[in-house]
């Protein structure tokens, strides 16, 4: 029989993991843990449920950062006023995960630990330059989410010994916008054929900084670094956005999948999504719509 624990603090959770010496894992919503247990990926003796740790259930803003607790489900994330009004791409990405009755359980943190290259939560996190606070027996440290990936489905975070307690990302004070795009064989309840997130910060009508993250176009979420560099200092014109989208494409290495789409299709569609995301992000940052 599995042991099921409700620690009251993150430290208690980690202690419960350490005590079980690899035979315990963290569970938040459980929407991935249960199927993984059924498939035999995990065979834990102990489940450490973090959803009753009060400090992990909060979304907070302060000091130029937004901090999201590991137990905040996607449903709460997409409906949080700060996220819904200021970080559209995150709200939309959260709304892209499964369906409403999955979003009520599934968490952003769990999505990151799962480390799938097309996970909506991962792609938006990488675009937001998010950091994750990892707590283990040796203490806590913030690490860039983008650095947590070892490969498809493989995270540096070990849920049998470590707890991702919070995710945080910088919230620029003004002239900043985000946007989310996704393609799939049906509108929802499906892993994406492609997804992408863009952020744009404007200064005096020019692009001060932009980020673009894409999936699944590599073993982990991919940042379009060349495009981001190109965009810096540019006027957000349609031509510039199109050029940036082409540069983003150069950094994408999508694969063919019989069940989803071919590499060729993904290559054809990716620039469309990137351009749209960039354009919308720029508009949200205050750039007037251009055609």
């Amino acid at each position: 029989m599995t042991q099921y624990l409700y620690p009251r603090t993150p430290e208690e959770a980690v202690a419960a993991l350490v005590e079980a010496q690899g035979r315990a894992i963290i569970i938040a919503g459980g929407t991935d843990v249960l199927p993984d247990m059924e498939k035999g990926k995990w065979r834990p003796d102990r489940l450490v449920d973090i959803t009753r740790i009060p400090e992990l259930g909060q979304v907070e803003a302060g000091g130029g950062w937004v901090t999201v607790g590991a137990a905040v489900p996607f449903a709460a994330l997409r409906e949080h006023p700060l996220i819904a009004e200021r970080v559209h791409a995150l709200a939309d990405a959260a709304a892209s995960v499964g369906a409403r009755a999955i979003q009520t359980g599934a968490t952003w943190a769990g999505n990151l630990v799962q480390a799938m290259p097309a996970a909506d939560g991962a792609v938006i996190a990488v675009a937001l330059d998010a950091e994750a606070r990892i707590l283990d027996a040796s203490g806590a440290a913030w690490q860039r989410v983008a650095d947590l990936y070892l490969g498809p489905g493989r995270s540096k975070i070990d849920p049998t010994g470590q707890l991702l307690t919070h995710i945080r990302f910088p919230l620029p004070s003004e002239a900043w916008g985000t946007a989310w795009r996704r393609a799939g064989r049906r509108p929802s309840l499906i892993l994406p054929t492609l997804n992408c997130a863009a952020t744009v910060a404007l200064r005096e009508d020019r692009i001060a900084a932009a980020t673009i993250a894409m999936g699944p176009v590599g073993p982990c979420p991919v940042r379009a670094g060349d495009a981001e560099l190109f965009l810096r200092g540019q006027l957000p014109s349609p031509e510039v956005m199109a050029e940036a989208a082409q540069l983003a494409l150069c950094q994408a290495q999508p694969r063919s999948s019989a069940l989803r789409a071919s590499r060729e299709y993904r290559m054809a569609v990716l620039p469309v999504l990137v351009r749209e995301a960039l354009t919308e992000a720029a508009q949200r940052a205050g750039c007037p719509p251009q055609s």
Partner: protein, 918 residues
């Protein structure tokens, strides 16, 4: 671990592994079987949605440990002491309940929404229900139900029309209440003492020969009751007419021709023991070359799969001078059309329960289309007289043809018989498929390759059609032998042709076996013809509606089959019914839009031969019960489409009484008569005819008996509530009339027959009765020309139903078929070797629901009861080609090629936009 929580207001304490899914604990430990399971604990279907502290969750993905100290609400808790929850009543009233299997999850998702958001927008309703799959309704009436309930919960008075007549209005279904309360017991919800678990060992190879099969080790495992192979089949080892060359279980030396083909059966005391036994069976396979493709299977040097050169059956029809007719044509279209394997995806997976009933009969309870056929197959396979076998139809969570396959019945019967013969204490065997198993092993829709050539004159008259069809029956037959004739018949459609040359063959491959699927063999052929017609219209610059009207078959005219349609033909009326919607769609599609958006309107029509072969004479019984109510006995299996209600309505009409006085005993071989094969949309027409006749006969008998007791002329008497009344007010209770039947020794049960044998000259029905219905659909779509992503914005569907027995149910059939058409057109595709279940077979969710408008054309039929005709399958045919035609027209102006493949995935559409081959 002890876990305490609140379920539906009451506290419970259980001792369970906290990692177990809440779903299993609710269903097994707490016997709350209202919450359903439709996928394999994957969160892919939504049927298991419950509320946890007011939030909708997938109970299959929620470990029960999470419920500790919290509040769980399930469908069983919805109704209060004062009656049904407004959501439950609204679901019943709007016709949102068909098979009922998605209903509990839908209700709970909706409650989760309305508890938080009392006045939701349509978008919020869609968001809340998205991901809860429904295969029957097309979601429209479910969304309406949520809206209706929301208004009532806010204190508004909201009524919806019902219509007063027993037939012709929108009567409520007779069996919806247990489906909205969770009380309805589907097979997976049933338990019996000492119930054993049946499982199937299936081949992992696409094509292989069995070299050895050793069950010794498996038989010896603890908890294993029996392991059965071909050697344990006492009667016929082959299906005979249902599936040529398909063994019930393969013998050593035989081939297994698809992944999922059964190899052996296991009966065990627990699921775990059954799995252990499956693992312990040792099978030696010699893998053989395989193909999924008909072109490859027909090529020289192809792997030998079955049949004659891998061909199962052929059918050919030639009429008129083809060369001359093509010579007369001003425009000719030639194309190759391809369709994929489709999976019915009924929300309830295959589940059967076998046991010996109180009369000692081997009994199998399971959803199917024809209990008497299953009884016959079982009797043959087990070498038993039919009378010693009983088949009972339980509440069934959808079929669409998928539950017509006898194999699960044979397997269950074999296991049950073996357990009893071995003297085991187990009394019952449950065989319940996983969703993955259902995908691998149950019949699919036949993929077709159709090569068409059609011609027309400049003024829009069709001249000739030449069609060549390869129907992929997969690894086994499952009635694929009849497919070629169906394909050819559907190809010509309700049109005038000067010449026809049609040839179709069914081809074996190593794909999943293909079998019955809503519209058996016709929808694929209709797809090709209707797409080609639309191409011809484009070529001629003709309007698709006028073009079809110009060549529409009229009453009394001989069709390309050589004889006229026997039933009244409302095809022109169907097309005219769509005209206003068509013009509105065209108008909208011309509105300005962004440059990367293409808009198009598509039309497709069809004819569908309903009634099938089977007997042209069917029977039903009607009885005056001792207490004075009426009982109808018939076999019109109700897997969600509503025949239980339809039969009661028709009997009520025939008796001129209220429907609440009628009980229907349906589809139990021990209690009801055989009313013939159930398929081809024949229930309302054939069985309804027999029910009507039986009810009328009973009325004559009953009123005659009452007349003697009352000393009045029988023709002056009528039924009034529980009495028979004369014009002068004299009356007698029906219970007293019943007692008089018993006193004089006269049966209170009478027979009624519906008999069309001898109605049509033999020449007009070479194989089948010439009963056809027609219909047409319109689709308005929007295509993103850069990504190929497509939204069906609106659909309009017109069908000649003869007479609607139940308007809301008729609409529900059509709306459900429209969404199935959306899936077939844009998303659904079983890829052999890749597709495993709901996670990778993309069914339309409510987000893919277009606005749907339904037009019921009622051109009264000539032969059926009350003017009715068949509908359920017919509605499946035109939706897919209408959508594909709309997509082709949406991308045409941007230089796109015509789409000739379904599903038209975004990728295929983008290739067409770019002028590339699909």
């Amino acid at each position: 671990m002890r876990i305490n929580f609140i379920v539906n207001g009451g506290s419970v304490e259980i001792d369970a592994d906290p990692a177990r899914p809440l779903l299993d604990v609710l269903r097994v430990d707490l016997s709350l079987t209202g919450t359903k399971q439709g996928c394999d604990h994957e969160g892919e279907c939504g049927a298991c949605t419950v509320l946890l502290d007011g939030q909708p969750v997938r109970s299959c993905l929620t470990p029960v440990g999470k419920a500790q100290g919290r509040r769980v609400e399930t469908v069983e808790g919805l109704a209060g002491p004062d009656g049904l929850h407004p959501l439950q009543s609204a679901f019943i009233e709007t016709g949102a309940v068909q098979c009922g299997y998605c209903t509990p999850g839908m209700l709970m998702a909706a409650k989760g929404l309305l508890d938080r958001t009392p006045a939701p927008t349509h978008e919020q309703v869609v968001d809340a229900l998205d991901g809860n799959l429904c295969r029957c309704t097309g979601y429209k009436k479910i969304a309406e139900a949520v809206d209706l309930a929301a208004r009532r919960l806010r204190g508004e008075t909201a009524e919806i029309s019902r219509g007063g007549e027993p037939v012709g209005g929108s009567e409520l279904r007779s069996d919806s209440t247990p489906k909205v309360t969770g009380a309805a017991k589907y097979v997976e919800d049933m338990t019996m003492p000492d119930m054993l678990v049946g499982r199937v060992l299936r081949s992992p190879h696409h094509h292989a020969r069995i070299l050895s099969l050793d069950t010794q080790k498996a038989r010896g495992l603890p908890g294993v009751v029996a392991v059965l192979t071909a050697d344990d089949v006492p009667g016929a080892l082959y299906f005979e007419d249902y599936s040529l060359e398909e063994p019930v279980l393969p013998q050593v030396g035989e081939t297994v021709r698809m992944v999922g083909a059964p190899v052996a059966l296991v009966v065990a005391e627990t699921r775990e023991a059954a799995y252990a036994a499956l693992d312990a069976i040792e099978v030696g396979y010699e893998p053989l070359p395989h193909t999924f493709d008909t072109d490859e299977a027909l090529a020289t040097g192809a792997p030998r799969i079955a049949g004659n050169g891998n061909v199962l059956t052929r059918f050919e029809l030639k009429r008129g001078d083809l060369t001359a007719a093509f010579d007369r044509a001003d425009a000719i279209v030639e194309g190759e059309y391809r369709l994929a394997f489709l999976e019915h995806s009924a929300l309830e997976r295959e589940a059967l329960l076998g046991y010996y009933d109180e009369a000692g009969r081997l009994t199998v309870v399971g959803g199917c289309h024809e209990p008497f056929y299953q009884q016959g197959y079982i009797a043959e396979c087990l070498g038993l007289p039919r009378e010693q076998v009983r088949v009972i139809m339980p509440p069934t969570g959808g079929s669409f043809g998928g539950k017509q396959d006898p194999w699960p019945f044979l397997a269950t019967a074999l296991m049950t018989r073996h357990v009893a013969a071995a003297g085991h204490t187990g009394t019952a065997v449950m065989l319940a498929y996983s969703r993955q198993e259902s995908f691998a092993a149950t019949p699919k829709r036949h993929p077709y390759v159709v090569r068409n050539r059609i011609g027309a004159t400049r003024d829009g008259a069709l001249t000739a059609i030449r069609v060549r069809i390869d129907a992929n029956t997969g690894a086994y037959d499952s009635h694929g032998q009849y497919i070629p004739e169906y394909a050819v018949t559907a190809s010509g459609g309700p049109y005038r042709w000067d010449a026809v040359d049609a040839y179709a063959q069914t081809v074996y491959t190593n794909g999943p076996k293909a079998g019955q699927y809503r519209g058996f063999g016709t929808a694929q052929a209709c797809f090709a013809t209707e797409c080609a017609l639309d191409e011809l219209c484009e070529k001629l610059g003709a309007d698709p509606l006028e073009f079809r009207l110009r060549s529409a078959l009229r009453e009394g005219e001989a069709s390309f089959l050589g004889y006229p349609v026997a039933e009244s033909l409302g095809f022109a009326e169907v097309l005219e019914a769509l005209r206003p919607a068509y013009e509105a769609m065209l108008e909208r599609s011309r509105e300005s839009r962004a440059g990367h958006i293409g808009r198009g309107v598509g039309l497709a029509a069809m004819w569908y031969r309903f009634g099938k072969s089977g007997s042209l004479r069917v029977e039903a019984h009607a009885e005056l019960a001792r207490d004075g109510h009426f009982i109808i006995y018939c076999t019109a299996a109700d897997y969600g489409q509503g025949t239980n209600t339809t039969m009661a309505q028709m009997a009520a009409e025939a008796l001129s009484i209220g429907r609440e006085r009628i009980e229907v005993v349906n589809a139990d071989t021990a209690r009801a008569p055989d009313s013939g094969i159930q398929g081809a949309s024949r229930a309302t027409y054939f069985v309804g005819g027999a029910v009507t006749a039986a009810a009328r006969n009973l009325a004559i008998e009953t009123l005659g008996m009452a007349a003697e007791l009352l000393d009045r002329a029988p023709q002056t008497l009528r039924f009034e509530d529980e009495r028979v009344t004369a014009p002068d007010g004299v009356s007698i209770a029906l219970a007293e009339v019943a007692a008089e039947f018993d006193r004089v020794g006269k049966s209170r049960r009478v027979r009624g027959a519906f008999d069309l044998s001898g109605q049509f000259p033999e020449a007009t029905r070479p194989t089948y009765a010439p009963l056809f219905v027609t219909g047409a659909h319109l689709a308005e779509v929007e295509v993103d020309l850069r990504t190929g992503e497509t939204r069906v914005l609106r659909m309009a569907a017109a069908h000649d139903v003869g007479r609607a027995v139940n308007r809301r149910d008729a609409e529900g059939q059509i709306e459900g078929a429209v969404l199935m058409g959306v899936g077939a057109a844009l998303m659904e595709e079983v890829l052999p070797g890749h597709t495993t279940g709901f996670a990778d077979y993309y069914l339309p969710t409510i987000k893919s629901m277009p606005q749907i408008e339904v037009f019921l054309v009622e051109k009264a039929g000539r032969y059926g009861p009350m003017g009715v005709k068949g509908l359920g399958e017919a509605a499946m045919l035109p939706a897919t080609p209408a959508i594909i035609n709309a997509v082709s027209r949406a991308i045409g102006p941007a230089g796109g090629r015509r789409i000739r493949t379904a599903p038209a995935t975004p990728e295929r559409i983008l290739r067409a936009v770019r002028g590339e081959a699909l």
